[in-house]
Subunit: 496 residues, 2 copies
């Protein structure tokens, strides 16, 4: 099963043990890149105002590091353009001078994609934060890429619309970063991903040329759909400066159900039932195994939801436009799965307080695990038949040595496999028991080693577990075509 895995290239690299999670391979600085000098800074001060060129180390520091304090660069310059034309002038100059650049949005990523690896200039989009237009008939919103996701939601909500993407980081992540990383989140089951919801993108290529694909049309079959290239390429192919997005009407009725069942096969059957009986009002289908619940109960002020402990807990959310209809559907669904002995216990919540209590069980898992000790985290997509098996395999492997838990967006096939040990810091022997096994298992079942977090600077050398050598070769050809000097977000996404 594992024979078709491509061997990792023998890369020129230095290893370092980082504080959290995993051994990170940090490549050496590529000497082809220029280091910035006063003349460069003068140039940037001429095209931007002085408040938009940060050189004071205390100003720059926060931009050099990610929010988890896991990745840290050594940049000495942050540029904060306000217009697409300024982004264009900056990149044109950097391309000519061979200065490397890392675009940065809200800096809320998990794989080190938005901070410099070495001394790359940080191009912050934070000052490009205007909502430029909204069409109340079509629901299409257009905004600059630095607009904070929550601000778009606040703008749309009184107009009866909602953003089709929702993340825990919504208060600080920016739409340009969401698009660049093809962020997933909890609404994906209901509204689909960004490749479907983003209608237009304006982006600046490495040579400064502006690609205006800022369409607000749902249908446009005129040539290649270039905007798709920028979605999920983590700022390595161009800097996104504006996006237009279709937004759905805001649901007015929300219900949540919590259920337990005694086998993962039943979880799968309930998913199928939910999809057909709840139809389009189904907006979340999350699962947690019992060890998740135990961890949450140990660290949070919450009650065990049912007297009867069961191996699997499912949270189902519906969002619709008719409270009576939605409740009826959810009740019919509950009756049907109870009659067929698919669940052991079940409870419905329709008021905000109880809904929050149910969601708290699911949303506290990560924080609660953090209180247990060291947590080794994996964000996988797996086919349904292998979805929970990897948790069981790892649990057997770690019996008596670590707590292995599984939870996640089962409706999207996205498993969060977490392995926690009481001991800190992270131990090599635990990593060796997990990697490359988990990656090889995922690869052999055609899964994804990064369902929603991306590759960044964390996983370029693991890319081959999810993509073939021909695919990686084609990605490199496209990168080389669009950014021949490799100035945009170097050391990220693609292996050397």
């Amino acid at each position: 099963m594992l024979t078709n895995i491509i061997k990792n290239n023998n890369l020129k690299k230095c290893f370092r043990q980082v504080k959290n999670y995993s051994t990170i391979i940090k490549p050496e600085r590529d000497s082809k890149y220029a280091t910035i000098n006063n003349q460069d800074i003068n140039y940037f001060q001429n095209i931007l105002d002085k408040h938009s060129v940060l050189t004071d180390p205390s100003d720059v520091e926060g931009f050099n590091q990610d929010w988890m304090k896991k990745y840290k660069g050594t940049s000495s310059l942050v540029l904060k353009p306000k217009t697409t034309e300024q982004v264009s002038e900056i990149l044109k100059y950097c391309n000519n001078r061979k200065i490397a650049v890392v675009p940065q949005g809200g800096n809320t990523g998990l794989v080190g994609g938005s901070v410099p690896v070495h001394d790359e200039i940080i191009l912050s989009l934070a000052n490009m934060n205007k909502i430029e237009g909204f069409d109340p008939i079509t629901g299409v919103v257009t905004c600059q890429s630095g607009t904070v996701l929550e601000n778009i939601e606040s703008y749309l909500s009184p107009l009866g619309y909602t953003v089709p993407i929702d993340l825990g980081a919504k208060g600080s992540c920016q739409i340009g970063g969401n698009v660049s990383t093809n962020a997933g989140g909890i609404r994906l089951l209901r509204y689909g991903g960004l490749h479907g919801n983003i209608l237009g993108i304006e982006a600046v290529l490495a040579d400064g040329s502006i690609i205006d694909c800022l369409s607000t049309l749902r249908k446009d079959n005129t040539g290649y759909d270039l905007k798709q290239l920028f979605i999920g390429s983590e700022g390595t192919l161009g800097v996104i400066t504006k996006v237009s997005m279709i937004t759905p009407p805001k649901p007015t009725s929300v219900n949540v159900g919590l259920f337990t069942c005694d086998s993962f096969d039943k979880v799968k059957t309930i998913l199928t039932r939910a999809k057909s009986q709840l139809g389009d009002i189904l907006s979340a289908f999350e699962f947690m195994d019992r060890p998740c619940i135990d961890v949450v109960l140990a660290h949070q002020q919450v009650q065990d939801p049912f007297d009867n402990k069961q191996p699997f807990y499912i949270l189902i959310e519906t969002s619709g436009f008719n409270e009576t209809h939605d409740s009826e559907k959810l009740n019919d669904f509950l009756e049907s799965i109870m009659n067929d002995d698919l669940i052991v216990d079940g409870s419905l919540a329709t008021d905000t307080k109880n809904i929050s209590a149910f969601w708290k069980l699911r949303e506290s898992i990560t924080e609660s695990l953090g209180k247990e000790g060291a947590v080794y985290k994996y964000d996988l997509s797996l086919p349904m038949d292998q979805f929970y098996s990897i948790v069981e395999i790892m649990r057997n492997k770690f019996e008596g040595k670590a707590n292995v838990v599984g939870f996640g967006h089962v409706g999207d096939g996205n498993l969060h496999l977490n392995i926690s040990t009481p001991k800190k810091p992270y131990q090599k022997e635990i990593f060796d028991m997990i990697e490359p096994f988990v990656y090889e298992y995922t690869s052999s079942h055609r899964g994804s080693i990064s369902a929603e977090h991306g590759i960044g600077s964390m996983k370029p050398n693991h890319l081959h577990y999810s993509k073939s050598s021909n695919s990686i070769h084609l990605m490199k050809s496209i990168k080389n075509t669009m950014d021949p000097n490799n100035i945009l977000n170097p050391y990220k996404v693609l292996p050397n």
Copy 2:
């Protein structure tokens, strides 16, 4: 408003007046391509079985021409591979020999994309027609690219699922062609487009290398999303051999409403209301103006739906999973738009016979217009504010000279503007009154000159009306990177 339109290049081209629709620019054969010889045919007979290499002119004829008999090539060879490896061997050979190739699916396109312009080899995918897998939990289906769309629907229907795309041509179009052309159709409003619904693609590049991105995962953020490049690039970047697609549960309850109103502003308001009140069960929002109804009444056995003639007719379809709920929603919606004087008349149909009668009004427009004389057809996407204005402008322009009608998928912003004259054949003076005006108008409002039909060999020289020179330049760079000898579907999509 029209100043930013890029001037057409001075192309080496020969004009010809074709039977239907429009003046087509047919480029000269590029002498860099080899012409096939017996040795080539022997080679292909060695890698395919003899029934899969068609050289008899009577066998080849049907593949040389599109179904409208509008575009015709002069190919002498059709290859019908059965496996991806055979496609790979064919392309590798053609690339080395610089033999041009046109991939062909069901050959149901409207812009000449799937037939040879000159003597390109026709690579028919018709024999690659197997459904390879279906996951009843996730609803993901995987099949070879030559699978006829209707066959996928027939396969899924008894399993309680449905394809997210539906077209008039479903009985003969193939899924690979649908994906290559990013086909739209009537379910787009409900399920979104193929960029969101296609989860994986296997494709063969011009040099024969196989790009296996045949993921069945909803979430996979590992590197660039290469499959997106093949969606809508009309076979110019690679030959799609397999696809995987997410399929939604099949709705069990369908209702249709027909309404009239006295202004297009009210049509727009009703669209907004329908989106918020009907929510996710809204599956079609089509409009026709009164001249469309008059044409249908003149040529079909149908009755005027209401005594009171009005300028605009709207057809709204809902598809859901609960008949009672859906009817209630549609009734509440009807009451609300009547109370606010948005509509003049309205009628609901819930049984198959009446539903068909309502749809017949909409679906007979094209056929009925065809009986009037010469029809000049334009498939545009326009912002809502300009959506109907172009029909009124053209109607004023043609007063007394031609019948100008507008209809289409208003829910998707997709207008079909049709201008019919009693006289055949098509007249240059009529074209001159329409083009380039309609394209320039569309361009100045950032619309699309091809909402769903694509570019093919019909519109490469009109691409600049919807895409900037930087975008076209980037498309050409990508084409050159992926197919440096330009053997795949030459003379199509991109201007010289």
